[in-house]
Amino acid sequence: MLETIQEYDYWAAVVNTLELTLWGALWALVLGTVLAIMRLSPVRVLQWAGAAYVTIVRNTPLTMIVVAANLIIWTQLKINLADPQSSTYIVDNGMRLGILAVAVYHAAFVCEALRAGVNTIPLGQAEAARSLGMTFPQSLTQVILPQAFRGAITPLGNALIALTKNTTVVVAIGVAQVSHAMRRMIEFRPDLLFQIFGLVALTFVAITLPMGLVTGWAAKKWAVQR
């Protein structure tokens, strides 16, 4: 079993999974926050655009978004996310397309988690900010979002755990991460089927379990006392 793990570069695949998770989560957080601001803004068009994005993306299978990113951005539009002269071009480009797809998809869930966080804030907080003469961006950055993030730690943690596991879907465009390594290992070593499944399951538990524990602890520590 150990030999197989080494032979199929399993640890390199785990590193790639972690990389997909980290960058996917960061971009999802940025994009999701922008979407949440759009949905909270007083501008109708922005509200509508934010709602449309969330509704469409949240109800589209991730596999389709991953494949679409590959076919549309790379094959059709020929937009390179990595340097074509580089020796690792194909690998880097695939990785970044994967990150993009994962971020685009989970941004919708981040947006909704943040909106749930906003709903924990009494209306009076925004009224108090406005009555002090704060503009919309000021009340957003000083009063609403800081409290929304703190109220949304648990749902954001759930979105992060889902994102981590969903990175396996980028196998659809051949990005070498855990599910990709798993497929190759099973293909060539079917005699180790149960061990391989067990290994992959343990890998994800090892990554996501701490996430759940940390966010649970953080949600308590940073809960806004009312």
């Binding site: 009076g124 003469g133 009063v143």
Partner: protein, 257 residues
């Protein structure tokens, strides 16, 4: 109207807040009916009336937390702007104290009081903090400066809320039932701060059920019922010699026991 009125600092100030024929509906409900009200500089106006009479709505309309459909509201002669930067600028000059305090729960008491001056008035942090400490001292909660709102009693929180508004150097202060959410033993500590403020010459519009405060601190009492101003007079005249049946009925209900 109201020739007998004498403002706190003697002599009539210039008109500061002027409402002319203000109307507002909540759906089918006509909550503000042709409201005409002039509040002069340095004047303390107490608005009283039964629940649902529109007095809180009136208060919230003055800094446009509520919109209105017709009529006009001017502050220092400037009409209330629509939503946006101009309105934010005007709100910075109009202090507001809420029934539910609404201190920023994620910030310390000191940060609650300095936030407006630093972000809206672009005041230096050090200057803002000195000013905030002086105000917190004035309302008697300076020792709590580094605690969070949830660690304070209701009365203390409301006094901080008053300090937070005062930190913006408002031209007028609006109080929307500031003691209605407080336990009885905390009401006076808040009313004392408000009475001091009234004596210092601050222009105030106070929606309250505290008749003692109205008698003690008001220059004028405005009585509202069913969305309209029914009667206005000096507290002395209003409480001893109400003219309208609605006011007589209201006073009869609250003053008999």
């Amino acid at each position: 109207m109201n020739d007998t009125h004498v403002p706190a600092e003697g002599g009539l100030g210039k008109p500061l807040v002027v409402l002319t024929d203000v109307n507002k509906h909540f759906g089918d409900l006509h909550v503000l009916k042709d409201i005409n009200l002039t509040v002069r500089e340095g004047e303390v106006v107490v608005v009283i009336g039964p629940s649902g009479s529109g007095k809180s709505t009136l208060c919230r309309t003055i800094n446009r937390l509520e919109t209105f459909e017709s009529g006009s509201i001017t502050i220092h002669g400037t009409p209330l702007p629509e939503e946006g930067k101009e309105l934010a600028k005007l709100r910075a000059d109009v202090g507001m104290v809420f029934q539910g305090f609404h201190l920023f729960h994620h910030k310390t008491i000191l940060d609650n009081v300095t936030l407006g001056p630093i972000k809206v008035r672009k005041m230096e942090r050090k200057v803002a903090e000195e000013k905030a400490m002086a105000l917190l001292k004035r309302v008697g909660v300076a020792e709590q400066a580094h605690k969070y709102p949830a660690q304070l009693s209701g009365g203390q929180q409301q006094r901080v809320a008053i300090a937070r508004s005062l930190a913006m150097d408002p031209v007028v202060m609006l109080f929307d039932e500031p003691t209605s959410a407080l336990d009885p033993e905390m009401i006076n500590e808040v009313l004392d701060v408000m009475t001091q403020l009234a004596k210092s010459g601050m222009t105030m519009i106070v929606v309250t059920h505290e008749m003692g405060f109205a008698r003690r601190a008001a220059d004028r009492v405005v009585f509202m019922a069913d969305g309209a101003i029914v009667e206005e007079n000096t507290p002395e005249e209003f409480f001893t010699n109400p003219q309208s049946d609605r006011a007589k009925d209201f006073l009869g209900k609250i003053l008999t026991h």
